[in-house]
Symmetry: C2
Subunit: 406 residues, 2 copies
């Protein structure tokens, strides 16, 4: 049951983007599992992909198609099968999927980005794709975002999407994004697929720069279980149909658009954690007083990945000894424990490395019993801060992941 996360609603159409979804029977029957997205001519597209060395065939192909720089006009996203660990046959299957889309929409195959999510290591069946192309084309429409958000779900329990509108240069600009992901999630990136579109006009450099900046503080600032997927991908498309001029780096409009994009991506990224496999709590980990961002993230992720911290969180147990032990093993050179403050929300547990005299178990438990709280770690050795988001570790996480393939 997702933590404070209602299903996506009110998703706004983005001029220049049409979507269609259907149940192709890739892995399950009677469950939407295939999405086709058509982008208007002139759309600028950027992507960020997993850094896992074993990246999946669709990731390899999507990177290649983006690198050709001849324009992306369509995305084909399937759930149910990740087409990962499938070797040369998998790459060939991804190529054939792109060719089918290209033929159906009268495009070059290189204009199609493939994305897959689901089980790893099984051959991708091609027949469901071939049979779906014409029905997908015939149902393309601008208002099918929610259907698409539902169709890309795997172990997700809630469809994830959000829209935001801002005024730029006197025009209303829309950003709508959808995402899936609930396990095998950590930075760089997650078993996570996200597609975000805006009708703002951006050049190629701008769309990549804004995507990179937003991903750094959203999809690359979450973790469920520390497992980086083979298939992660986040794609941003800017159709340019809002009527603005091309929004250039350094302008007020560029900053405003970048901020709105961060908000959309943070909503989607946090939604993945809120809906994480078995999650019952949504936990922010805020590390301050670090000497560098790398150091702050190292401490934050060490705490976030600790099974002992996560199981204590599941129990609503303010077990600060486990947090402290995780900070202590995070590998920071010359960590001076006598400089460290540790708080749960506003309740101080440690001040200067010593137990806070005002701390009581009752005060700690009151924070830890909440569905959402923040673990605040002040290292006292620098000026850099960061925040990441994670969840607890429950019986249901084990259940979901022990039973996923059986």
């Amino acid at each position: 049951m997702a933590v404070n996360l209602p299903p996506a609603s009110g998703l706004l159409a983005v001029p220049g983007v049409e979507l269609a979804s259907l149940a192709a029977g890739i892995r399950y029957h009677n469950r939407k599992d295939l999405v086709l997205i058509r982008l208007a001519a002139g759309t600028q597209v950027a992507g960020v992909f997993t850094r896992n060395a074993f990246c999946a065939a669709p990731v390899l192909l999507a990177r290649r198609h983006l690198a050709r720089d001849q324009g992306i006009r369509a995305l084909l996203i399937n759930s149910g099968n990740a087409n990962a660990g499938t070797g040369q046959a998998g790459l060939s299957a991804a190529e054939q999927c792109c060719a089918q889309v290209a033929q159906t929409l009268d495009l070059m195959p290189e204009a199609v980005l493939p994305m897959s999510t689901g089980v790893i290591g099984q051959a991708l069946p091609l027949a469901p794709f071939a049979a779906s192309m014409v029905p997908l084309r015939e149902s393309l429409a601008a208002d099918r975002w929610l259907d698409a958000a539902q169709a890309i779900m795997t172990t997700d329990t809630v469809a994830k999407g959000v829209s935001k509108q801002i005024q730029l240069e006197g025009k209303t600009v829309t950003i709508t994004g959808i995402a899936k992901g609930a396990g095998m999630i950590r930075p760089d990136m997650a078993t996570m697929l996200a597609f975000v579109a805006t009708d703002a006009a951006l050049d190629k450099a701008g769309v990549q720069a804004l995507l990179d900046a937003a991903v750094a503080v959203s999809f690359n600032a979450i973790t469920v279980d520390g497992d980086t997927s083979t298939n992660d991908a986040c794609v941003l498309a800017a159709t340019g149909q809002a009527g603005t001029g091309v929004i250039k780096s350094g302008s007020v409009a560029y900053e405003a658009l970048g901020q709105a994009l961060i908000e959309v991506c943070q909503h989607l990224a946090q939604a993945c954690v809120r809906d994480a496999e078995g999650a019952s709590r949504f936990i922010a980990i805020q590390v301050s007083g670090a000497r560098s961002l790398a150091e702050a993230r190292q401490v934050a992720y060490c705490v976030a990945h600790s099974p002992l911290v996560k199981t204590a969180a599941f129990a609503g147990d303010p077990n600060w000894g486990r947090i402290l032990a995780a900070v202590g093993r995070s590998g920071i050179d010359d960590l001076d424990v006598s400089c460290i403050d540790l708080l749960l929300d506003d309740v101080a547990l440690l001040r200067g490395g010593e137990p806070d005299p005002d701390y009581t178990e009752a005060r700690g438990s009151a924070v830890a019993a909440q569905a959402e709280f923040t673990i605040r770690i002040a290292l006292g050795r620098g000026a850099v801060s960061t925040t990441i988001w994670t969840c607890d570790f429950s019986y249901d996480y084990v259940k979901i992941n022990a039973e996923y393939r059986t």
Copy 2:
């Protein structure tokens, strides 16, 4: 329920070592929780301790006492309370415990090594220690190893200990060791306490060198959950009472003693994994073809810590996609996936990065259904190999760690 691990039995006395245990009521009543060990004059002692920056008060004090190099004559080990995260008050408590032992056995306080394990962040009550000193002294005996192994248990379900005898220089030399540890376990070291004694004669450099070598391939080659404790300690005592001369580095006897010590430490370390919290399977991870030991360990631990790999193992699911994903995200530079072989025991899953044509789900499942198996990862880029040991991740791990303090 421990995996193929009967309770310790047949533990042999080590001349020069006397032990006593009792139920002091440190955390629970009617449960043995305090051990006193007296070492004969002339015993050489070495220790290896946690590298966690937040190390516990007894670790700080034990390191200080060993560094003074004036001889260690006693150990005081308690379970139920780790005396960690307790600040200056905790250090003072550890000092008072050593002083009590010193007074009782007519030693200097610096001749006493304190060791504590149990809950973190609670003040160590001193009254149970004071009341126990005389009864402990009066029950010191050479044949109380099993009692001691039982008294240091926390969430352990099985008392862990082993003895081994070898012939050196025409004399029978005994090595006996005990250990505790079942969670918060990973290299450097574990929530793990171990005490190993031999009646072989070693000089100070020799006892430390042999301990370091044995720990590297035993206690520092296991992981349960990746959490490094604040209290880990492994102490080796060489009483010299077997009648051998001092065994010098480079001699045949030194090599034989070193090998026997490795076997004792590996038994104890593997026992901790076999009895890991909630464990139902004991898994070796063997990485070969690495360019360095650091690289081999990086891959092995990344797989061993993956919650997805561990939950699949719990289910007996040969989910090689998750193993592959963990190898791929382990951070090895320029990893060429086309060189990688992956096997479960002798069943090949991947050869040269491609699915093995002879692999069937039935063959993989037959291996993964066993209580013990080996995940073999050949990187194909160098000549270095290593093996570590871990376990699966079950409902009971969550249950044990969610309920430990409540």
